[in-house]
C-alpha cells in the first residue's frame, strides 16, 4: 500500500509534492494530521462537531495557502498556526453569542464514559482492569486540560499534541520563549494537582 511507504516521508516533503500537484501527498497529510488537529481544536472548542468542521477548515486553508508555505519552514508549526487562528476566531465569535461554550464543560463531565470508550483503543493490549483505570485516568486528564487557563492550555496542547518546539510556540503566540516555558510549567503543576489522587494508580500501573 502506497500510504504505508509515505509514512517515512516528512511532512515538508509531502507538502512540497502537493505544491507540485500531487494530491495523494495531501491525502497522506490529512491521514497523518487529522487526529492531532482535531484534538488540539476539540480541547479548546469542546464541541466535537464544531471541532471537526474546524479541522476541515484547517485543511482547506492549507490548500488555499499552499503557495505561502516555504520549504525551509516546519509543516506542523505552519499548520498549527493556521489551526490556532481558526480556534481564536471561533472562540471570539462564540464569546459574542452569550458564551455558549461555557455550557460545554458540564457536558464534558457527563460524556466521561463516552470519552473513555472512544480512547480505550489507545491501550488495546492492556487487560480489562488496567484499561478501566486507564480510561478513568484519561477522562480525568482530558477534563484537567480543558480546565487549564487558555494561555497555558494553548501551550500545553501545542507542545504535547502538536509537538511544536517552545521556540516556535513563542513565535506563534508572540511572547518570549521563557514565558512559554513558564506557562508550560504552570500547566504541568495544575495538572499535577488535578491528578494527584490518581498518581498512586499511575505508579501502580507502571
Amino acid at each position: 500500500m502506497a500510504p504505508a511507504v509515505r509514512e517515512d516521508v516528512t511532512d515538508e516533503v509531502l507538502m512540497m509534492r502537493f505544491q507540485g500537484g500531487d494530491r495523494s501527498s495531501f491525502a497522506a497529510l490529512v491521514r497523518k494530521h487529522k487526529t492531532p488537529f482535531y484534538n488540539f481544536i476539540v480541547r479548546q472548542i469542546r464541541t466535537p462537531q464544531v471541532a471537526e468542521d474546524l479541522v476541515q477548515d484547517v485543511f482547506v486553508k492549507i490548500v488555499q495557502n499552499a503557495a505561502d508555505f516555504k520549504h525551509e519552514a516546519r509543516f506542523t508549526t505552519w499548520a498549527y498556526a493556521i489551526a490556532r487562528n481558526l480556534c481564536i476566531d471561533h472562540l471570539r465569535k462564540m464569546s459574542h453569542r452569550k458564551h455558549p461554550s461555557l455550557d460545554q464543560p458540564s457536558r464534558a463531565d457527563d460524556d466521561g464514559p463516552t470519552l473513555g470508550e472512544r480512547t480505550a483503543d489507545l491501550s488495546p493490549g492492556a487487560h480489562v482492569e488496567r484499561a478501566a483505570i486507564g480510561g478513568e485516568m484519561q477522562t480525568r486528564i482530558v477534563h484537567a486540560v480543558e480546565q487549564l487557563p487558555e494561555e497555558q492550555r494553548e501551550v500545553f496542547l501545542l507542545r504535547e499534541v502538536g509537538h511544536v518546539p517552545f521556540k516556535d510556540i513563542a513565535e506563534m503566540t508572540g511572547v518570549s520563549e521563557n514565558t512559554v516555558k513558564s506557562r508550560m510549567r504552570y500547566a504541568l503543576e495544575r495538572l499535577q494537582n488535578a491528578l494527584s489522587e490518581y498518581e498512586d494508580y499511575a505508579r501502580a500501573l507502571r
Binding site: 484534538n39 471537526e52 476541515q56 486528564i141 504541568l188 498518581e199
Partner: protein, 369 residues
C-alpha cells in the same frame, strides 16, 4: 547551579531540549537541593502520567476534508494557483547552484557592457581631433608623406597630385590621414594671420632675447601651423638658431625636412652641405685622418659630379687619384651617426646637382653667416 537557574531550565530538561552539560549540572544541583529534586520528579511524573489521550474524530471526516479540499482547489482563484505554481517553480529555481549561475551571468554581462563601451569612445576621439584641426602625431606623419611625395616625383607637383600619390600607394587610413591633412591645411589657411603673428613674435624674441628663448617659439609655430609657409619659415629660423648654438644634428634634421619643400629645397641643401664638415669634425674628431677624410669626401663628390661647373675641382681630383680610393674607406664609416641619416641616406641617391660644388658652398656659407 542555583535554584533560579534550575527553574529556568527545568522545562527544557523535561522535554529533552537541554544540552548534556547543563543537564549534568542540573543533576548535581538536585543531589544537594531537595526542593528542586522533588519539584523535578513531580513534574516528570506529571508529564509521564498526564499524557493527553487522543480522541479519534468521526470516520467520515477524512473524506469530508478531501472533498472540501478538492473543491477549494477547484475554486481557488487563478492568482492563488499562479502563486502556487510560482512557489513550486521557485522551490526548484531558488537553489544555490542556479542562484550562483544567475550571479555569474549578471557579473559577466555587466562587465561585457563596460568592455564594449571602450572601443566606441576611442574610435570617436580621432574624429573629434581632426574636426578641430589640431595636429596629432599621426597627422604629422601624413603631412610628411604628403610632402615626401613631390620630392619623390622630383617635380614641382601641386598639392593635390601629392595627395593622390600618397593615397594611391598608401592604405585607406593613410588616405584618410591625407584628407585630414587637407582639412588641417584649410584650417591652417584660416589661421594664417595667427601663424604670421606667432612667427613675428618668435622672430622678435630671437632679436631681443636670443636663440635660446626663441627656439621653443619657433618649434611651437612649426607644430601649430604645420604645412604653412610660416611654419617653414619658423623651421628655417630655428635651424639657423640650432646651427648658431652648435647643435648640428637638430639643425640638419630641420634642413632635411625643409629640403622636401620646393621653395626651400636649394637653400636647405646648401645649408646641409655646409653642416657636413661640422658633423664630420664632430664624428671623427678623435681620428687623426679627419682632414684627410674631409678632403677625400670633397674629392669624391667632385669626381662623381663630372658636370660640376668648377673647373679647378676637376684638376684637384685628377691631381690626387690615389688619395681618393684610399680615403674612401675611412670616409664611409665617418658619416654614420644615426641622427645624420636624413642627410647621409640622401647622398647616394641624389644627383650631382644636389651635391653642390665647393665654391658654391663657400658662397652660401658666407651668406648664411
Amino acid at each position: 547551579m542555583d535554584c533560579e537557574k534550575f527553574d529556568q531550565n527545568v522545562i527544557d530538561a523535561l522535554y529533552d531540549e537541554l544540552d548534556e552539560l547543563t543537564m549534568a549540572s542540573m543533576k548535581r544541583h538536585m543531589e544537594t537541593c531537595s526542593r528542586c529534586a522533588s519539584a523535578f520528579s513531580a513534574l516528570r511524573a506529571t508529564r509521564e502520567v498526564a499524557i493527553l489521550p487522543l480522541e479519534e474524530p468521526s470516520d467520515e471526516l477524512e473524506s469530508r476534508i478531501l472533498f472540501a479540499a478538492s473543491a477549494a482547489q477547484r475554486t481557488t482563484p487563478w492568482h492563488k494557483k499562479a502563486l502556487r505554481g510560482l512557489a513550486w517553480a521557485g522551490s526548484h529555481a531558488m537553489r544555490p547552484q542556479l542562484a550562483m549561475a544567475a550571479v555569474f551571468v549578471l557579473v559577466i554581462g555587466s562587465s561585457l557592457l563596460f568592455l564594449r563601451a571602450k572601443p566606441g569612445t576611442t574610435s570617436l576621439i580621432p574624429v573629434r581631433v581632426t574636426e578641430r584641426g589640431e595636429p596629432t602625431p599621426e597627422r604629422d606623419e601624413g603631412a610628411e608623406a604628403a610632402m615626401e611625395a613631390p620630392a619623390a616625383a622630383a617635380s614641382a607637383a601641386p598639392e593635390p597630385l601629392a595627395q593622390t600619390v600618397a593615397a594611391g600607394d598608401g592604405s585607406g587610413s593613410r588616405a584618410a590621414d591625407t584628407k585630414d591633412d587637407q582639412d588641417a591645411n584649410a584650417e591652417a589657411e584660416k589661421g594664417k594671420n595667427s601663424a604670421q603673428v606667432a612667427l613675428d613674435d618668435a622672430r622678435s624674441t630671437e632679436g631681443l632675447q636670443g636663440c635660446d628663448a626663441a627656439l621653443s617659439k619657433y618649434d611651437d609655430v612649426g607644430v601649430r601651423f604645420a604645412g604653412t609657409s610660416q611654419a617653414a619659415e619658423a623651421m628655417w629660423s630655428a635651424a639657423a638658431c640650432h646651427k648658431k648654438r652648435g647643435d648640428a644634428e637638430r639643425a640638419r634634421e630641420l634642413y632635411g625636412a625643409l629640403a622636401k619643400r620646393d621653395e626651400y629645397k636649394d637653400k636647405a641643401e646648401e645649408a646641409l652641405n655646409e653642416l657636413a664638415p661640422i658633423q664630420n669634425n664632430a664624428a671623427a674628431s678623435a681620428a687623426p685622418a679627419a682632414t684627410a677624410t674631409v678632403a677625400a669626401a670633397k674629392a669624391a663628390a667632385t669626381s662623381t659630379s663630372s658636370q660640376a661647373p668648377g673647373g679647378g675641382a676637376r684638376a684637384g681630383a685628377n691631381a690626387a687619384p690615389a688619395a681618393a680610393p684610399k680615403a674612401a674607406a675611412p670616409a664611409k664609416p665617418a658619416p654614420a651617426p644615426p641622427s645624420g641619416e636624413g642627410y647621409n641616406t640622401r647622398v647616394p641617391g641624389s644627383t650631382g646637382k644636389e651635391n653642390a660644388s665647393p665654391q658654391r658652398r663657400a658662397v652660401s656659407s658666407d651668406s648664411a653667416l
